[in-house]
Symmetry: C2
Subunit: 198 residues, 2 copies
């Protein structure tokens, strides 16, 4: 005996999500059974909508409902700086800071030989294309402070610098409000290396 | 700046699931963006289907596409025994055992004063109704070995016994293959209490 087909199918679908195994998927499926009709309908609609109504911006690679995206269309932004991030959510994090007024470029991933992600799987060609525009003076590389993020930053730096464009990387160091005692050695080392006169 | 509306809505939907906060919901939403169209469509369809095509069996309370459910309709099953469980997934667990040939009754919850779940929120009235049929000789209570499960078992036992029907409870003890060293005290106590001659 098995679960009724609708439940079995929903469990299969939940299991396609990252970090969700068969136990959690079953729990979620049974939870869904008890959810309000309108919430489940909204859920189904938003799944369809996210695939149908969202596209990648043909300029910066960010997700957007309209192409080009809001930021690329915004004439008030500083077109001399491009900040390169891994994912669309990194753009959101940067925008929350309300300080950066330049443009973005979303790689949609990082170089990862382990996972078979090479330069052609990212939006690197499109980034290089954008640099042909002479208004671009600086590329800020804001990939994550992981091994892959660092490797991608190095790769991009070597690719862009010959064009005479300034390439910078976000500073590494102690998180604001954090204790030295709990900082890992590499972060501490980076914090010492990057020390500034006060 | 916020996420494009389709993403924001999908994040909201994922956050309605148990144990999923805003960070995981965002991660799942962006993962969904990169899923194959057919997988996302199947996901949306199964959400709709689980609400539209599944019902609770009017006899045993289990989920089913047809009412009464497969097990209640099955003439080959032993109608003298009813095994009472908390949730539909417990029926699945029992059926996997391939040993039990009686009927089931799904409470769809447990008595929990803390969460405001009383007898009327469970399918207890329907269970009592079933016992008027004189073919029922034994009710096996297989609620979970939790405080609420035990309390529900006691409550049901007091309710059913006066009708002259045998009420039994699943045995407590050491899990097969487990080490005594790692068993908690209460389980060990139950295992000693329930010891059998060999």
């Amino acid at each position: 005996m098995q679960y009724p087909e609708p439940v079995a199918k929903l469990i299969d679908s939940y299991m396609k999500l990252p970090g969700i195994g068969v136990k959690t998927a079953s729990r979620l499926a049974f939870f869904t059974l008890d959810m309000r009709d309108e919430d489940v309908n909204a859920f189904a609609k938003s799944l369809i909508s996210v695939k149908r109504d969202l596209h990648y911006c043909s300029i910066c690679g960010n997700i957007t409902e309209e192409d080009p995206c809001e930021i690329c269309r915004d004439k008030t932004r500083d077109r001399s700086t491009i900040l390169v991030v891994e994912e669309p959510k990194d753009v959101m994090a940067m925008e929350k800071m309300r300080e950066y007024k330049g443009l973005y470029h979303v790689l949609n991933g990082v170089l990862s030989p382990m996972e078979g992600t090479g330069p052609d799987d990212l939006t690197i060609a499109a980034l290089i294309q954008r640099l042909h525009d002479e208004t671009v003076k600086e590329v800020i590389i804001a990939t994550n402070a992981t091994t892959e993020g660092e490797a991608t930053a190095m790769y991009l730096s070597r690719l862009i610098k010959p064009a005479g464009i300034k390439v910078t990387r976000l500073a590494h160091g102690l998180a604001v409000g954090s204790d030295i005692e709990y900082a890992d050695e590499v972060t501490l080392l980076k914090a010492v290396e990057g020390r500034r006169e006060i």
